[in-house]
């Protein structure tokens, strides 16, 4: 099903997605949107794994399992991150990352 599409296309797509995520991480103020940017970043990594697996090592399944575990870790990370965000919200009554700067000089 992937005939006629070079691997570079997948990689470039993943790269763009990755850096869009990075941009979001750097520029958004709301903690939840920052978390969403992170999801984009992780998702782009998954695409890379899958593409490498299919194009370079089609007889193996490493890439797929890596993606599988990454998804599991992301689920755990999201759960903990959201718990932390809720806690921050309760403590500071805001989830604006610029206002949460207790740990400064």
């Amino acid at each position: 099903m992937n005939a006629g599409i070079p691997i570079q296309f997948f990689l470039i797509l993943a790269t763009l997605m990755f850096f869009v995520g990075v941009y979001g991480f750097l520029s958004r103020r709301n903690l939840i949107t920052i978390l969403m940017s992170l999801e984009l970043v992780l998702n782009s990594v998954n695409i890379n794994f899958m593409a490498f697996n299919r194009y370079l090592f089609p007889h193996k399944m490493e890439g797929m399992f890596f993606s599988l575990f990454i998804i599991a870790v992301v689920a755990a990370e999201a759960a903990v991150a959201i718990a932390i965000i809720l806690n921050i919200y309760r403590r500071f009554t805001t989830i604006n990352v610029e206002d949460v700067d207790e740990m400064k000089y």
Binding site: V22, F25, L26, S27, V97, E98, V100, D101, E102, M103, K104, Y105
Partner: protein
């Protein structure tokens, strides 16, 4: 062979008592502390007497010789097969004699202290320190090797320091304790050098091996030399330096008079009877080496002893603080002992001086402790140290008066008191070998009688003084030791030392040399008579005399300006020209470097602390830009 292993308990009991009283003293209260400390001393005193009896009378002698017995010995620090430091107990005539002296005086002082120190702050601490002192002094006495002796030597110094500084809220006491510690410590450096030299050349620390006439120390007498003296001689001179420091011989004598800032019983115990004779004991302990291998060092001992005894006796005539008079008298008497050792030979009747020195050490311990305890009773009664503020006390303090008089007669060498016998032996020994020192001794004998009776008449006779409170006799706990010690001072002269404590362990015949003794008695009586004329009734002879010999008097009153001289040397020369530049260097260069490092760090951190803004995205931005930059560097620059 009788087993002497139990003698280790003589060391263990006071040590345990020190730990116990030091840690739990304030919990069990003063009364029980004093009782426990005194009880422990009673036990070890009894043990010491048993040991003395068994050693001198119940042990079969091998060919008329008292052999040194190693009662206990264990390796304490093993460095190599050959170099190891042992700890143990040596029983021989002088150590047994010293056991008797130390425990007796210490026991008396303990009893006395329960009365004298009553109600003082730190009563338990005082008894803990006394136990520590007893422990260290006994450890010194029974040391079977020179290194153990050195260890306990320093411990004695520490406990002396603690006890002199007992009234640590009094600046003068603190200064005195520091002075005592520093001066003796300074002298101990010589002792340590001596030990190292000696043991390096003889490969042993053991006294038995060292003092064996055919042992390595004496066999090497003619060995390697430096400035015309053999190594053994040098090492013995250095060892003697340590002894001179502890025994307050000139020029290290300056600490002893100041040490009188401590409680009076402490002065009696440490600074009259036991610790200060440690130097004499050290020389006696090493005597065969001195006599057979290092006669030059022995000459040094003799002359320093003679000079100190004269020097201190002159100063004693002018002092007004009664404890200081006694302190100078102590220096003078120890000078006597040193001199006696110095003029002695080895073996048989030649060893008369050695025997005389030990004899005098023994009697001196008794009568000097008695004098100090008597002085303590007087101070207790009138609350002053100055004899100019006393007078006519004989009516108020009958027991003290009587015992003090006995002690004065004893030290003046009037028969039949014990001082007469021991002093006579010393004079006889000096007469045999060195006429100059003999003359010095006669002079000192006269001066001793004079200043002791000056003290006596000033305190108990002289002008009638009005006291704020009527003086009253001390409690029984204080008068009983006085009486016991007085009995000792009277009768100790009949102990046949020439049969028991001799340089080579063999008994020899000696009798009172009346040709020497009668002039010395006459000189003593003359001294007493002069003192009686001058001080018995209030008159102006002392002032007139002082005015006539104004310069001499002033010189002696200011202790020949030795203290001032030391102060000049240390403050004006060493402090100014050596210490101050070093201090400057330390403060400006070394501290300056450290301070500038700290300052630079602080300034820089103050500048860069704004980086720590708490802004998560700022950190992330720096991180990602850095990562991209690194990637650029790695891909386009470093790999090609």
């Amino acid at each position: 062979m009788i087993n002497f292993t139990y003698t280790v308990w003589i060391l263990i009991i006071p040590f345990i008592m020190f730990i116990f009283l030091g840690l739990a003293g304030h919990k069990i209260g003063p009364k029980l502390s004093g009782l426990l400390g005194t009880g422990a001393l009673a036990v070890i005193t009894a043990l010491s007497y048993i040991t003395a009896y068994k050693y001198f009378f119940a042990t079969p002698k091998a060919g008329d010789v008292f052999k040194a017995i190693l009662a206990a010995n264990t390796t304490w620090l093993q460095f190599t097969d050959k170099l190891h430091i042992d700890i143990g107990v040596l029983v021989d005539p002088i150590s047994v004699m010293m056991l008797i002296v130390v425990t007796t005086v210490s026991f008396m002082v303990h009893i006395y202290s329960t009365g004298y120190m009553k109600g003082e702050k730190g009563y338990e601490r005082y008894f803990a320190f006394l136990s520590l002192f007893s422990f260290s002094m006994l450890g010194l006495v029974v040391a079977p090797n020179i290194f153990q002796m050195y260890i306990f030597w320093e411990l004695v110094g520490v406990s002396s320091y603690l006890l002199i500084g007992f009234y640590y809220e009094k600046p003068s006491a603190v200064a005195a304790s520091k002075k005592a510690f520093i001066v003796t410590r300074f002298a101990d450096l010589g002792f340590l050098i001596g030990i190292l030299l000696l043991s390096f050349h003889t490969k042993t620390f053991d006294f038995i091996t060292l003092t064996d006439p055919s042992g390595p120390a004496i066999a090497q007498a003619g060995g390697a030399s430096f400035l015309g003296l053999s190594v053994i001689t040098w090492s013995m001179i250095f060892v003697y330096l340590g002894g001179a420091g502890k025994s307050a011989m000139f020029p290290f004598h300056i600490w002893l008079p100041d040490a009188m800032e401590g409680p009076t019983p402490v002065s009696a115990l440490i600074h009259a009877a036991t610790m200060v004779v440690a130097g004499v004991y050290l020389v006696a302990r090493m005597f065969p080496v001195y006599s057979l291998a290092a006669p030059v060092a022995l000459k040094v001992v003799a002359y320093v002893g003679g000079f100190s005894s004269l020097f201190a006796a002159i100063i004693a005539c002018t002092q007004t603080d009664i404890k200081r008079v006694l302190a100078y008298s102590t220096i003078s008497q120890i000078g006597y002992m040193m001199l006696a050792l110095g003029v002695s030979g080895y073996g048989g009747h030649e060893g008369l001086g050695y025997m005389a020195s030990m004899f005098h050490l023994f009697t001196h311990a008794l009568f000097k402790a008695l004098l100090f305890l008597g002085a303590g009773a007087i101070i207790h009664a009138v609350h002053t140290n100055l004899m100019t503020e006393m007078g006519g006390l004989r009516k108020y303090l009958p027991i003290t008066h009587l015992t003090f008089l006995i002690a004065c007669l004893t030290i003046a060498g009037i028969p039949p008191f014990s001082g007469f016998f021991s002093k006579d032996e010393i004079l006889a020994a000096a007469f045999q070998s060195n006429k100059i020192l003999f003359a010095v001794e006669y002079a000192v004998a006269g001066l001793t009688a004079f200043y002791m009776f000056r003290l006596y008449f000033n305190i108990f006779w002289g002008k009638e003084t009005q006291y704020q409170h009527t003086p009253h006799e001390a409690p029984f706990s204080m008068t009983i030791p006085l009486i016991i010690l007085a009995l000792g001072a009277v009768f100790a002269g009949w102990i046949p030392f020439n049969k028991l404590v001799t340089s080579d362990g063999q008994a020899f015949e000696s009798s009172i040399e009346w040709g020497v003794a009668i002039p010395s008695i006459l000189i003593g009586v003359l001294g007493i008579f002069v003192a009686m004329v001058m001080y018995r009734k209030e008159n102006n002879i002392p002032e007139r005399l002082a005015a006539t010999f104004k310069n001499t008097y002033k010189l002696a009153y200011h202790k020949f300006y030795i203290d001032e001289f030391y102060l000049f040397v240390t403050k004006k020369i060493i402090f100014r020209y050596i210490s101050e530049p070093i201090a400057w260097f330390d403060r400006h260069i070394i501290d300056g470097t450290m301070n500038s490092i700290a300052t630079v760090t602080q300034v820089v951190s103050f500048r860069i602390r704004k980086f720590q803004s708490g802004q998560l995205q700022q950190y992330a931005f720096v991180f990602i830009s850095g990562a991209v930059l690194l990637a650029v560097l790695m891909i386009y620059i470093w790999y090609w």
